[in-house]
């Protein structure tokens, strides 16, 4: 008995994690994929319809809304991640070798520790509000006319991107500055002796050495931004009209407002596939290094 236990101890210790993976992740995914093949309005009986939900989404009656949401999602994700990386890299370069960087780093981390729903409510109601928001008030000192921010379809998407960048750039800074600190000194010194300018050192020495870290950060931010939900639901709820209705919001509304679980499951599966594809591509590039 003891011998058997001894031999299989690795399995026993692995079991809790396995159970968690199955119950918490694998089962819901499989269940949701299964649901996506049914026409199922909450309360009614699920009817098997095969790929009809997917057909409706890609080509049928939902296609206009769906492709619009994809468009919004792609724009939001690309712009947000690009801005986060650029600004994050800039800040990381500024702070990584300062002596007091622990204090500075903590200050830069502050936005990240605020729960997204709270920061969304603060930005949406108190900073962006066109009537009594603080942003228009501050800008009025510089002679800028009051803007509508998240309250108009033209400015809603950029305004949401600003919140996302504000909230998650610290995360990028944290990882990149740690990466910069761990870089070997020798190549940099060699470059200085060879007479490279600081820009050349950054672009030809630091960035190539940092590539694995940059890729990892990009993957993490890409996945998170594709699923950005809490900030949007607490600022615009996909509005005005449908100006900020990313795929996640569309899925939420389909499930909990339209009660259409079949289509919502199909949308969830599509979003899951997109995220998975993005990650696999990034991991593949990462492995090549």
């Amino acid at each position: 008995m003891i011998k058997v236990l001894k031999k299989s101890s690795h399995i026993i210790f692995f079991l809790p994690a396995l159970i968690f993976l199955f119950v918490g992740i694998a089962y819901p995914i499989v269940w949701s994929i299964n649901n996506s093949f049914y026409q199922w309005i909450i309360g009614g009986n699920p009817i098997f319809v095969g790929l009809k939900n997917y057909y409706d989404i890609f080509f049928g009656i939902l296609s206009k809304d769906f492709w619009y949401s994809v468009y919004i999602t792609v724009i939001l994700t690309l712009l947000t991640v690009a801005l986060q990386l650029t600004i994050g890299m800039g800040i990381a370069l500024l702070i990584y070798d300062r002596t007091q960087n622990k204090i500075i780093r903590s200050i830069f981390l502050l936005p990240m520790v605020i729960p997204p729903v709270v920061s969304g409510t603060i930005w949406g109601n108190f900073i962006y509000n066109p009537s009594y928001g603080i942003l228009n008030y501050v800008l009025s000192f510089f002679g800028v006319a009051p803007q509508l921010w998240t309250y108009s379809s033209q400015q809603a998407l950029p305004s949401v991107i600003v919140i996302l960048v504000w909230q998650w750039t610290p995360f990028v800074v944290l990882l990149l500055s740690a990466g910069l600190e761990s870089l070997p000194k020798a190549p940099m010194e060699a470059a200085v002796i060879d007479g490279a300018s600081s820009w050349q050192i950054f672009w030809y020495v630091k960035v190539p050495l940092l590539k694995p870290v940059i890729l990892a950060v990009t993957v993490l931010r890409l996945m998170d931004t594709l699923r950005a939900f809490d900030i949007i639901i607490s600022t615009t709820l996909g509005g005005p009209g449908r100006a900020t209705e990313i795929l996640n919001i569309m899925t939420y509304l389909t499930a909990f407002v339209h009660f259409n679980m079949g289509v919502a499951s199909a949308l969830g599966t599509i979003l899951f596939t997109i995220s998975l594809a993005a990650v696999i591509i990034m991991l593949y590039i990462l492995r090549e290094r």
Binding site: L5, K6, S9, I12, F13, I41, I42, G43, G44, I61, N125, N129, P130, S131, Y132, P146, L148, W149, T150, Y151, S152, S153, T236, L237, G238, G239, P240, G241, R242, A243, L253, F256, V257, H258, F259, N260
Partner: protein, 533 residues
Amino acid sequence: MSEPKKVDRRKFIYAGLGAVALIAIGAAAYVAMNPPVVTQTVTTSTTVPTTSVVTTTVPTTSVVTTTVPTTSVVTTTTEILPPIPDYSLAKIDWKQFKGTNINLISHSAPQTEYMKKRAPEFEELTGIKVTFDLYAEKEYSDKVVIAAQSASGMYDVLAVLPAYSATFVMQKWVDPVYKYIENPKLCDQRWYNLPDFYDSALSYGRFDPSTNTFGVGQQHMIPAPGYLETLPVLYYRKDILSELGLKVPQTFDELEEECRIIKERKSNIVPFVTRGCRMAGTWNIPLAMIGCYGGNFFDQEWYPILNRPEAIEAVTKYVSLMRNYGPPGAAMYDYTKAMELFKSGGAAFYLDTGNYYGVLTDPATSQVANNVGVAEIPAGPKGRKVNFLQWSLAIDPNSKNKEAAWLFIQWVTSAKFAYELMAAGKGPSPRKSTYNERVIQDKWGDFINVVAASGKYSQILPLSLIAGKTQDIFSSYTSAAIDGQITAEEACRRANKEIYDAMKAAGYYDKPPKYGTYNNGGNVIPHSPDWTP
């Protein structure tokens, strides 16, 4: 080096196994030493069949319903109850489910917080403990749908949103309350006095399963206390109107004209505010206006008629009021933002639910408390229409304590409780008897007049099985029109097409008809053969 490491790991594994074994032995010992727990579950499971026997006997009592009026006539001659009878006068055994625990899910509001505060008195009276799960409205509405759909019986009492009323009763997510009302062991009908509720309030809980029609038939849910929602009424600032020499507007044209004057003469005041965002009950405002202009949301056979001239005219007026005289960013204004703006003195006219009267006139919460006037909704070319909304309380069909849940609902929706809640200023009562009390008349004066007047022209919401979806479609287009992305006419036409598609998918145009005809108490418009989506 490797030698001690190996021993360490082994020791660790043994220690881990030992701990697991200890926990297992401990758990076994705990189970063995606490047999009462086991017997308790056995007793409850044996009581369940008896309760189900009770429910099976109910059909016989429901056959008796026709004779109920005669019995009540007989009893009235023997003893006269006061108009608002005390809890102790009910001829039922309040203690019959002593020791039960029941759970309630609702949104957090002054009304529900007041119920929670008074729940210990109910526990004292009945020995039933009520646990309140109160959430913010959006969170609550997600949770209550999940709770109902999963059939877990997690909650015994459900508060049901007005907009979800049809969905809840038609999907059989509630256990019909008429069974409990007709059971003399569980309800003293003469004391409870169901006809004391306003009929329109009761209609939100009625359902006729034989024709699949919501709003008529037997009582499935009971109107929640503290709600008698007339949406919208017109709040105005007395000081601004008298300063500019303006009268209270009687029509939407007058309202627009006065807004123009206010915009010209008082640049720091937003002339008009109401709900304009997507979702959040925004559709109530254009819906009432469509009624005032002689239109309706659906025709008699559930075909959407938002593309008819009356509806387009009404939505155009709504959009132009919000675009030209509303606050900047009006397309994102939900009821909270609109109320904040009016309460802080930033707006002159405010069109929203009558339920806010208490909050707006309370000096503790409102900066303009002493200058708030309230009036009926302005009239359109075809007179006035307002939406009547009713929150309801219902019993979860999967609850294990349905009878105890009913006792709580009976207590909390009684004439006495409704009166006490309104006298405390927490919300208007859905019972007629409350309004005969002097205390109430003094405290809620103007409000009672407006509500009494609007009772004559109220309509209920266009509640189909997919009310949530039709609401989302309609409000997303009106919000886009206020934002300026499309015109009001385009908004109406596109919403009409999409709502038609959604209703068709939900089986509303199936032959033979799956659902009863549409009548919301508004202008009933017969289906026209040349109807187009």
